[in-house]
């Protein structure tokens, strides 16, 4: 009879400090080998700088979007069939509306927490796109997009475009008077595409505007196809982030070859989980107390109705502004209309803009000849040309954004709408050209001024017994030690010729 040998492992388990939990985890590890990967994951280091949290706002508002969106799909009916609304909101009672509109009003008023979910979904969308733009600005101005992270920059830009498109689609789904006008504009923009516009528009809308197909089609794009692509790209975005490691600002002990920060567990995980609750809490508060898109006040869309002073959601504002202020250039010849007033601001301009953004890492590398790996971030003032170019584009987009509310400005300031229109036209052309040299100059000045970006130091003034005043810098507190970002000169990258190639390959050697 053989004796049961107590193994080392079973002894350790018996006396292990983690008791039954440790035991079951060990059992899992024996089968799945989780410990090694889990250890790597938990020890993953993330830099702590606050500006790296901006992307997380986007991530967590996307989580809120998914959760609230699933709730909304339970009650929303994507159909343009006409029904008679008979619900609790009397000013619509008895009106012929589409099922999409009726179900959105019903989910707002007749479903418990429905309006809260709808408003949270809408606010989360505004915050999602806003935080993507902020995050993108941080990545751009600190040069985080440089080699090896160009691909992630492209993915991020794609995510922004998809977020804007999906935001527009979702805004259109209630089929209310305001969003119907938006679909109308989108239809006209598609019509203005040279040569194929009419065909593309008819293909998308299943015929002429408005038809009865567009809401169901927008619905399936909005709730399935685009969110799926966004989800996959978010996964790729974060997978690349983990794989390529996070960038960091230069400082004490920080080099191109290490990452200084907090480990995933427990510090970063606690921080980021807390931040998730803060983001969703803020969105819930907005959803509860700030009304957004009160479609019951707008009423249903029909092609014969229009409301003045309708704007799209903020992230479409720059396109709306471009459409508003562009001069009315259209030509009629040989039975065709060439609507440059729509094609240029709504097709060509965003096309150039987003292509330029996508290609920016390549454009910059073309000029700097910089083919090095970069894991340390730039201070924006140390790269004055990039910063100036970014500010210049941001100013142009802001001006176009402001131009999307020309009527609100004119009404608020009691000036003529036409004056506002012309003012915005001039500002859109002039301000980017002012912003570039001004930003460039400010950056150069900040480089030249040694104290720029540094904390102020305290001087302790003491009076000697002789009555003399002496100022000495105060000692740095232990917790207050920090590294300064030294102003660095802009490096000049010289493209060195490749060394003469040695004949590569397999040679037959006689032995």
């Amino acid at each position: 009879m053989s004796q049961i040998v107590s193994t080392k492992r079973s002894q350790r388990e018996a006396s292990g400090p983690y008791g039954k939990i440790g035991h079951s985890l060990n059992e899992l590890d024996d089968r799945l080998g989780l410990a090694k990967g889990g250890r790597t994951f938990m020890d993953k280091i993330f830099p702590d700088h606050w500006s790296f949290m901006l992307g997380e706002i986007a991530l967590y508002s996307f989580v809120v979007l998914l959760a609230t969106g699933v709730f909304l799909t339970l009650y929303y009916i994507p159909s343009q069939d006409l029904v008679t609304y008979t619900g609790s909101y009397l000013p619509l009672d008895g009106q012929r509306v589409t099922e999409a509109f009726a179900s959105t009003v019903n989910l707002s008023f007749a479903v418990r927490a429905g309006l809260l979910m709808r408003q949270m979904h809408h606010w989360a969308c505004d915050i999602f796109v806003g935080s993507i733009v902020l995050h993108m600005g941080r990545v751009f101005f600190t040069g985080a997009f440089r080699k090896p992270r160009e691909l992630n920059w492209t993915i991020g830009t794609t995510l922004l475009i998809l977020a804007i498109v999906n935001g527009f689609l979702g805004y259109s789904l209630p089929d209310d008077l305001v969003s119907g006008t938006g679909i109308r504009i989108a239809y006209s923009i598609i019509l203005s595409i040279p040569l194929v516009g009419t065909y593309v528009a008819f293909f998308l809308f299943g015929g002429n505007f408005p038809g009865t197909d567009i809401i169901p089609r927008f619905f399936i794009l909005h709730v399935l196809i685009i969110p799926l692509v966004i989800l996959l790209l978010v996964g790729a975005h974060m997978g690349l982030l983990v794989r390529q490691k996070h960038t960091q600002f230069p400082g004490k002990g920080k080099t191109e070859h290490n990452v200084v920060g907090s480990p995933m567990f427990p510090v970063f995980m606690a921080k980021t989980t807390g931040f998730m609750f803060v983001v969703s809490g803020a969105i819930a508060l907005l959803g509860a107390f700030a009304q957004i898109n009160p479609i019951w006040q707008f009423g249903p869309y029909t092609a014969s109705r229009i409301s003045y002073a309708v704007q799209p959601d903020w992230y479409m504002g720059f396109l709306d502004g471009a459409l508003r202020i562009f001069p009315a250039w259209s030509f009629h010849s040989f039975g065709y209309t060439i609507p440059l007033e729509v094609t240029i601001p709504a097709i060509i301009f965003p096309g150039i803009l987003f292509n330029a953004v996508m290609a920016w890492p390549a454009i910059e590398r073309h000029f700097t000849k910089d083919n090095e790996m970069h894991n340390l971030l730039d201070r924006p003032s140390n790269r004055p040309k990039r910063t100036a170019a970014g500010v210049s584009v941001a100013v142009l987009l802001s001006m176009l954004f402001i131009a999307s509310s020309t009527d609100v400005i004119a009404n608020f300031l009691h000036v003529s709408l036409n004056s506002v229109l012309w003012a915005m036209r001039i500002l859109c052309v002039v301000t980017p050209f002012i912003a570039y040299p001004l930003t460039y100059k400010i950056c150069r000045e900040m480089q030249a001024f040694a104290g720029a970006g540094k904390r102020k130091t305290t001087n302790v003034v003491t009076r000697t017994p002789q009555g003399e005043y002496v100022a000495t810098p105060a000692p740095v507190y232990v917790d207050d030690e920090h590294d300064e970002l030294e102003a660095m000169p802009v490096p000049v990258f010289v493209h060195e010729p490749e060394p003469a190639a040695v004949d590569a390959g397999v040679r037959r050697v006689a032995r």
């Binding site: 606050w50 009106q95 012929r96």
Partner: protein, 289 residues
């Protein structure tokens, strides 16, 4: 013989067919299927035999009353005091030392027009050269406005008279649909009004009394079209009810209404309060070097 039978049979068949097609008729979204008994072309409309102007739409939704002629003596003196410097002593738009055509001729405009301009505070004008007059606290009270209307009307009696809408049976839902169709294109769907071209604007409807809504619809002040041909008094009363209830007291069920500015205000709140505040939280949580 067969022809006669066929002809006799054809009648009911045609009748059935027309009945069936009528039964298939479903109202378009902006009609609620209610019968418009008082459309201006219907027989109930009472017209002035001489001028053809609409005296009454023949329904009980709005009562039009002429201002008392007894007030016209007072009206004349008030007119000479407040209006004649521009509109002239004969209210014909020719001031004493001016040229004809510089100011509107008021003769024959009807009491409702005069009453609207005076009672909304737009007249006497603060700045006669302004592109468009603003609603202000009226300088003349209701009786004085009616008196001026009575005197101007006595020069050449006309219509519409001073309206008094009866909103008890008005349909707010039909009003909402008619508002979206007829009014929202300038006044915006939330009734806030907005700037139009070249310094003109559609005024806000948030603080306008019911009878003035009728006056504006029926007389078409300034740039506003005059709605007589396409709206019955029932429909005008529906619009008035919608304006005085839902536009002036909107049901902001979703929380703070953000001033009815729509996506402009929402964008500011979302970006500054939402993203801005969350970025600040990130600033607080993260490292700040």
């Amino acid at each position: 013989m067969l022809c006669v039978v066929a002809l006799v049979a054809l009648g009911p068949v045609l009748g059935l067919a027309s009945w069936a097609s009528a039964a298939n008729y479903s109202p378009t979204p902006y009609q609620t299927g209610r019968v418009n008994s008082g459309t201006p072309n219907s027989t109930s409309v009472v017209r002035n035999a001489k001028t053809g102007a609409i005296v009454s739409y023949g329904d009980s939704a709005i009562t039009y009353t002429a201002p008392s002629p007894a007030l016209s003596e007072l009206g004349k003196s008030l007119f000479l005091e407040n209006c004649a410097s521009c509109h002239g002593t004969q209210a014909n738009g020719v001031p004493a030392n001016g040229t004809s055509g510089a100011y509107p001729n008021l003769v024959g405009l009807g009491p409702a027009t005069i009453d609207f301009w005076v009672e909304s505070g737009r007249m006497p004008a603060a700045d006669p050269r302004a592109v468009q007059a603003n609603r202000r606290t009226p300088r003349l009270n209701q009786t004085q406005a009616l008196a001026i209307a009575a005197w101007v009307n006595s020069l050449s009696p006309s219509y519409p008279d001073i309206p008094s809408p009866n909103l008890t049976s008005a349909n707010v839902s039909e009003g909402a649909a008619l508002f979206a169709l007829n009014c929202a294109a300038c006044h915006t769907i939330e009734g806030d009004g907005d700037a139009l071209a070249y310094g003109t604007f559609a005024p806000s409807l948030r603080n306008i009394p019911a009878y003035q809504v009728v006056e504006a619809i029926r007389t078409g002040p300034a740039n506003m079209p005059r709605f007589t041909g396409n709206l019955s008094d029932y429909q005008v009363a529906d619009i008035v009810k919608y304006v005085t209830t839902e536009i002036q007291h909107p049901q902001n069920i979703g929380g703070f209404g953000l001033g009815g500015l729509g996506p402009v205000a929402e964008g500011f709140v979302g970006l500054l309060l939402g993203v801005g505040l969350l970025a600040l939280v990130g600033f607080w949580v993260g490292e700040r070097q």
